[in-house]
């Protein structure tokens, strides 16, 4: 749905540390269907980057193909974007990040883009622990080709067309944990209170931060019988933990004050406050995280929150020992060994 957005902003609208208003983080008007979960995620992304005072032009947006992959047009209009080919965002993101390690890389993908055609690339970008935020806008269906089931649609779930899904679904979060992701979270587009701090923590995390956001497709997969519908998710959602993200400097007063908080410090010194459910284990255990997910499946619950976190993450450039200076800024002096070396090499071949 297209609509016009008034350009007027309240003159006293809040500005962030950089002096930018929220507008500097907005993009073009969305052309998605009215009520699409993706639009809510877009709004959460805008809020997260705005509130974290990240310079928009230092962010790189990358996506594949599909409804979700169209969304980078709708946020961070001052950032470069790359709407690549279906299922291949991870490799393009890898190359872009290798070229310049200093920018913030935000990958946006969908369940078709990631769990089917791009499953291989997803697995390997996780293995490489590329320093990026990888968001899947997960609606369990192929929206742009009119509602076919995707690989994350739960077995037995029924979309608008009414036929139950025949095959097992892929749980991207569980897979990501197994593949070695050091930050794995699941959110719901209808719960911005949880999603915004979750995205902030993902942005602050060094290494690959995987965020699976269940995002109902109002047009093709929102029947009450679908496990990706608004009503089903609301009824079956169970938060592993509520969380708040505290950036390195200005302290944000937490809105959650129940339960006991556990603080997990990220590499840059920022802190995630996790308000655990009393009976839940610490999320820094991989084994427990997977067990929780499996258990929730049996109970037909959808676990949300930060599911697994390893704050000691080593990203691709740490492992590769890449120079601090971005590779794309290097010139002849840094890169070309020169003719003298070549003559020595010629001689060694004789």
């Amino acid at each position: 749905m297209s609509y016009t957005r008034p350009t007027f902003r309240h003159p006293e609208a809040r500005e962030n540390k950089l002096g930018y208003s929220r507008k500097a983080y907005e993009g073009a008007i969305s052309t998605l269907c009215a009520g699409c979960g993706h639009d809510s995620i877009v709004s959460a992304i805008i809020t997260a980057f705005f509130e974290m005072s990240i310079e928009p032009h230092r962010v790189v947006k990358l996506s594949g193909i599909g409804c979700s992959s169209k969304t980078p047009a709708y946020f961070l209009g001052r950032s470069h974007g790359f709407n690549s080919v279906h299922g291949r965002m991870p490799s393009v993101a890898t190359g872009a990040n290798m070229a310049n390690r200093d920018l913030v890389y935000l990958g946006v993908s969908g369940d078709g883009d990631t769990a089917s055609i791009g499953l291989g690339q997803f697995a390997h970008v996780v293995r490489r622990n590329l320093n990026m935020i990888y968001i899947v806008m997960n609606n369990g269906c192929y929206g742009l080709t009119k509602g076919q089931d995707s690989a994350t649609a739960d077995k037995g779930s029924k979309s608008r067309k009414g036929a139950p899904v025949s095959f097992e679904s892929i749980d991207l979060c569980e897979l990501a944990i197994q593949l070695g992701a050091d930050f794995v979270a699941r959110g719901f587009s209808g719960d911005k209170k949880q999603l915004v701090p979750m995205l902030k923590a993902a942005i602050a995390h060094k290494g690959l931060a995987f965020v699976d956001v269940i995002s109902p497709c109002v047009t093709f997969n929102n029947a009450p019988t679908s496990t990706k519908s608004y009503s089903w998710v609301r009824d079956h959602m169970e938060a592993t933990s509520t969380l708040d993200f505290i950036p390195l400097q200005p302290e944000i007063t937490t809105e959650y004050d129940h339960g006991t908080a556990i603080q997990v410090a990220l590499h840059d010194g920022s802190i995630i406050n996790l308000f655990k459910r009393e009976d839940k284990e610490v999320i820094t255990s991989k084994k427990d995280a997977i067990a929780d997910l499996e258990e929730a499946k049996v109970d037909k619950h959808i676990l949300t929150g930060v599911l697994y976190l390893n704050p000691e993450s080593e990203d691709f450039h740490d492992i590769n020992q890449t120079a601090e200076q971005p590779l794309n800024l290097m010139g002849e002096k840094d890169l070309c060994p020169g003719n003298a070396m070549l003559q020595t090499l010629n001689e060694s071949l004789r």
């Binding site: 470069h80 974007g81 070549l342």
Partner: protein, 619 residues
């Protein structure tokens, strides 16, 4: 029987079992000939296997400097029981057959035009060495020792090379020298004057070096400023990236911090490999990937994206025999069409055709400038023969004043100076190439979304026919700019009347030049054109139109260059005659002369003067 008696002009072929350590012994032999100053051209014919299957190493020795395959073998070292009979049958009349005489040859090996040279390799080895591995490895060195005597090389040049090879581990040199002596002494005692082939020191090599094309390519990428590599292992391109990594570890690592001025990812497949290179090219780093035919098929989707979104990227295609998995360890030039028009829709890619390792170096370095200048994929078309075999070529050199041409990239200052609205796909200079920006350049200006969907001059999504057509037509303007920038063909006129021409490219060059020399010697002067790049320039069109008949010499079944030329240059049907070899082994000069003769005979007297002999002997 008339024995072959030749100095510095023959072909020697080693028949081995792969995984037996023969490769280093055979390389040693070629290197010694090279160090004696005699032009040499070794070709490795190997299986897609690690151990136990037949492998051959063919060494052409040519004082005149003919470095292509000639065809046939004058001296065969038969160390592989599996292929003994075939190897024996292959010896040229008057030639020599060296075999392991620990076991007698079957009686059926009774040709009267072959000189048998029995050396009890296994026996000698077992008597001298106790260790099993040593017994296997040293067998190879023993026959090199025998050759040192038989070909009149002497012990010294070979033992000197061995000592050089083991300079850091002199202890390892000892058993090698011992084995060398065993072979040398045995041959001297038992085959005093068996062999009429000789190698004499020469100055014909001059300053030239001996190196494989893939190393040249890797050095080109290193000097050309490549920093990001995405790749997936595939023969015969693997050694491009392995060599790049080796050189980069040597020359691009900060000695104090250990930090690297490069990043290489071995990707999950070829799609990701080229995706990585494209992502990095988009973000302003010089990036490449190396692959072979099957990889090209997989990369086609991404090549279309890079073409349409205009992203610089360099692709090295080391071609092998297709289709499908084909013969993965055999050579061919059969990816021309799949590379030229890779991907769906109307696409065209710039191709470069190096013919030796020196050109692999130069063209690869140039490819990065071209990619940045043209903002499009540049594909360097090497092949297995060129890439994996050692070739004699001019030494490498680099102009230290040379600056990388990074093309039209706007800085923050540039963006501030622009008064009108900047558009990523606005053709300001009317050369089809637009100005691009890199992420992170300017807080407020120059951001855009790159997309594989149709876009306006301002990079906005559009389904408007007019904008789409404008974009597609502009890409053709850029194609014309590419035509003016890529290397021009090398033309040689032997006959001013310009009756017959021949064209070829890449690794076919050496055999083609030899064939054309021989044909000229037989009073059939044929003008020649070596094509170095696609798009083709005016010279290519003119050369074809000036001649009555054109031989297109290439190494694939379907005459792909001819198809490309026919379409691009609108050549009249029948004007071009294919001369092809697609058996997986490098084309030989004899194959070319034979096919040319056959055609000329069939086409009648118009093309053959009275003095021309009918045909050379078959290979």
């Amino acid at each position: 029987m008339k024995r072959l008696e030749r100095v510095n002009d023959f072909v020697i072929r080693f028949a081995n079992v792969n995984g037996s350590g023969s490769a280093s012994a055979n390389n040693l032999f070629a290197k010694v000939v090279y160090r004696l100053g005699v032009p040499v051209s070794p070709k490795n014919v190997f299986p897609s296997n690690i151990q136990g299957l037949p492998t051959w190493y063919e060494v052409r020795i040519s004082e005149q400097g003919y470095l292509g395959r000639r065809g046939g073998a004058d001296f065969i070292i038969a160390v592989n029981g599996q292929t003994l009979r075939d190897d024996y049958d292959m010896v040229q009349p008057g030639g020599y057959f060296l075999y392991d005489s620990t076991r007698e040859l079957p009686e059926s090996f009774n040709r009267d035009d072959v000189t048998l040279i029995g050396i009890p390799l296994t026996q000698l080895c077992n008597d001298e060495f106790q260790d099993n591995r040593m017994r296997q490895l040293m067998k190879n060195i023993i026959y090199i020792g025998a050759l040192a005597y038989l070909l009149d090389i002497g012990m010294e040049p070979i033992s000197a090379s061995i000592r050089k090879q083991f300079a850091k581990k002199p202890k390892l040199a000892e058993p090698n020298i011992k084995a060398l002596e065993l072979g040398f002494d045995y041959a001297r005692e038992h085959h005093g004057d068996s062999c009429g082939l000789r190698i004499e020191p020469s100055t014909a090599v001059g300053q030239r070096i001996l190196i494989d094309g893939n190393s040249g390519t890797a050095l080109g990428a290193l000097f050309g400023g490549a920093t990001v590599v995405g790749w997936y292992p595939i023969t015969p391109s693997t050694s491009v990236v392995e060599a790049f990594e080796r050189y980069a570890n040597r020359y691009r690592v900060d000695p104090e911090t250990g930090n690297k001025n490069f990043a290489i990812v071995q990707a999950e497949d070829e799609l990701a490999a080229v995706g990585i290179a494209i992502g990095a090219g988009w973000n302003g780093a010089r990036a490449f990937t190396a692959t072979s035919g099957p990889g090209i098929s997989l990369m086609s989707e991404f090549l279309g994206l890079a073409y349409f979104t205009e992203i610089p990227v360099v692709l090295i295609d080391v071609q092998r025999s297709g289709p499908s998995t084909g013969m993965p360890t055999r050579t061919q030039q059969s990816d021309l069409l799949s590379c030229a028009y890779a991907s769906h829709g109307d696409t065209r890619n710039v191709l470069l055709f190096p013919s030796d390792p020196h050109e692999c170096f130069e063209m690869t370095a140039d490819a990065f400038d071209l990619a940045d200048r043209l903002q499009t994929p540049i594909i360097v078309m090497s092949d297995l023969d060129l890439g994996m075999n050692d070739h004699l070529c001019e030494p490498f050199s680099w102009d230290d004043d040379r600056r990388y041409d990074r093309g039209k990239v706007l800085s923050a200052e540039d963006l501030d100076k622009i008064e009108s609205k900047w558009g990523r796909y606005l053709d300001i200079d009317k050369d089809g190439i637009c100005y691009r920006t890199l992420p992170g350049t300017h807080p407020e200006k120059g951001a855009y979304t790159t997309r594989g969907t149709s876009h306006t001059e301002y990079a906005a999504y559009t389904e408007g026919s007019a904008a789409y057509e404008r974009g597609m037509k502009r890409l053709l303007v850029k194609w014309e700019t590419a035509r003016s920038l890529v290397p021009r063909p090398e033309i040689r006129i032997r006959d001013e009347s310009k009756k017959i021409g021949a064209l070829y490219f890449g690794s076919t060059t050496a055999a083609a030049l030899e064939a054309l020399d021989r044909l000229e010697g037989n009073h059939i002067p044929i003008n020649s054109m070596r094509i170095k790049a696609f798009p083709f320039q005016q010279e290519v069109f003119e050369f074809i139109s000036e001649h009555d008949l054109i031989f297109a010499i290439e190494q694939n079944r379907d005459s792909q260059m001819q198809i490309l030329l026919a379409g691009e240059c609108l050549v009249a049907p029948g004007k071009m005659v294919p001369v092809t070899n697609f058996n997986g082994l490098p084309i030989t000069a004899r194959m070319i002369t034979n096919q040319v003769h056959t055609t000329l005979l069939a086409r009648g007297k118009a093309f053959i003067s009275a003095a021309s002999p009918v045909q050379e002997s078959t290979p």
